[in-house]
């Protein structure tokens, strides 16, 4: 990755008007160097003010910085330039989802699905937004592993860009097309893979498949959740739960109920337990429907203990 950044920096220094600034900004973003990524993106957009992929990248950087209104503005800019930009449609749909605006999230994702009906990640995201069971995976032409990753955010590039076909709206820019295609996929998928996350729940059953720690903004912190087909759905679940802790706290306060200790959801195939960790972080534990709620609560309590210890150890 460092070599990539060096090579991209060199290429850009050689040709400052190159559209490869998007690649460089994206590489920096995925390394977590958000300030540098922002500078590169803004500099590039200064030279190419109508470059949709540049704004798409800028939106992802803002999203990673939890600057959601700026991210939304950047994606809206993309859609003003290219109304069918898949990355922007999915990115903004996910943003609405995180903000609890189900109607707008559905509209954006429906639009994205109309642009690419074979995109399973969008189909799954749309089902989640609507609160419907995840659709069965459709058989069809082989698609990249990355395209089947369902995690559209907080690194929208993961699914958004990776799932996007080379956009026909960037005809004069092969480099820009490359910026919105496959090269993003493996790195981001790997970065968001449960195995790459801190091993907080080691020793607990389902440590990386059924237990998830998310922050108040709906971003994954540790653990992981898998769908029935083994794909990682952590980001999607975390986004769905963005803000739940704050709402629960406020409600308990208004209704004089004291601190909330757990939320249990009984679904058709699973029991889901949520528990507060610290600073708005929430633990989510999923167990089979046959697991008694009392037992699921005990398991969640153990996982919560591990999460709190880990959060303290990292100073959160």
């Amino acid at each position: 990755m460092a070599d990539d950044i060096r090579a991209l920096s060199t290429a850009l220094a050689r040709d400052p008007s190159s559209l490869r600034y998007v690649d460089l900004a994206e590489a920096l973003r995925r390394r977590g160097q958000l300030q540098e990524a922002m500078q590169v993106a803004l500099h590039g957009l200064g030279r190419h003010p109508g470059h949709a992929d540049g704004y798409d990248c800028l939106a992802r950087i803002h999203s990673d910085r939890a600057e959601l209104s700026e991210a939304r503005a950047a994606w809206e800019r993309v859609l003003a330039i290219l109304p069918e930009h898949l990355g922007a449609l999915k990115g903004i749909g996910f943003l609405y989802f995180r903000q609890g605006d189900v109607r707008r999230a559905s509209e954006a994702l429906e639009h994205a699905l109309a642009v690419d009906p074979a995109d399973e990640a969008t189909r799954r995201a749309l089902a989640a937004v609507r609160g419907e069971p995840a659709p069965a995976r459709r058989s069809g032409p082989a698609r990249t592993r990355a395209a089947l990753q369902p995690a559209p955010e907080p690194a929208p590039a993961a699914s958004v860009v990776t799932a996007a076909p080379a956009t026909p709206a960037a005809p004069a820019a092969p480099v820009a097309a490359a910026a919105s295609a496959a090269p993003h996929a493996p790195a981001v998928s790997a970065a968001s893979a449960p195995s790459a996350r801190p091993p907080v729940f080691g020793g607990l059953e389902g440590a990386t498949t059924d237990i998830l720690l998310l922050d108040a903004r709906g971003l994954v912190m540790a653990g992981g959740l898998s769908a029935g087909d083994g794909s990682d759905v952590s980001e999607l679940a975390a986004a769905a739960l963005a803000g739940v802790s704050g709402e629960a706290e406020r409600t308990c306060e208004y209704m004089a109920l004291g601190a909330w200790t757990a939320i249990v959801a009984e679904a058709e195939h699973a029991n889901v337990v949520l528990a507060p960790a610290s600073e708005g972080a929430v633990l989510m534990v999923r167990r089979e429907r046959s697991t008694p709620v009392g037992l699921a609560l005990r398991i969640a309590d153990r996982a919560r203990g591990a999460a709190v210890r880990w959060l303290q150890s990292v100073g959160v």
């Binding site: 959740l225 986004a239 409600t251 308990c252 208004y254 939320i263 959801a265 009984e266 679904a267 058709e268």
Partner: protein
């Protein structure tokens, strides 16, 4: 229809420990019918019930858990229960910590069926 709803809420209010029950529009979190003790804030309960239902439904759907049927939030001073998730109307209850959740759950699912 509203008589039916009120009858269902009346049955729910007879479960020992229930402080208030209400029907809530799932879409916008506004109360539709309610039977609450004096100090229960119905607007807060309704708004939270709708938001919570939407959030946990999204999370459950994303993870292959299927449709959510019943949600309970436990706290030191009471419990909030939500049923009928997935429909147009939710049934929400606030109750004492010691409420018989199983019994309340049965009545709530029955109340949810009233609107199905």
């Amino acid at each position: 229809m509203s008589e039916q709803l009120m009858r269902a809420l009346d049955r729910l209010s007879r479960v020992r420990g229930v402080r208030g029950s209400m029907y809530v529009a799932a879409e916008d979190g506004l109360p539709v019918a309610q039977l609450l003790m004096e100090n229960v804030n119905g607007k807060v309960l309704a708004a939270f019930a709708a938001s919570l239902a939407r959030k946990v439904s999204g999370a459950a759907a994303a993870t292959g858990g299927g449709r959510v049927r019943f949600v309970q939030m436990l706290s030191a001073g009471g419990v909030l229960l939500v049923a009928g998730v997935g429909g147009e109307l939710l049934v929400a209850v606030v109750a004492d910590p010691g409420v018989n959740v199983g019994l309340a759950r049965l009545e709530m699912l029955r109340a949810a069926e009233t609107t199905a």
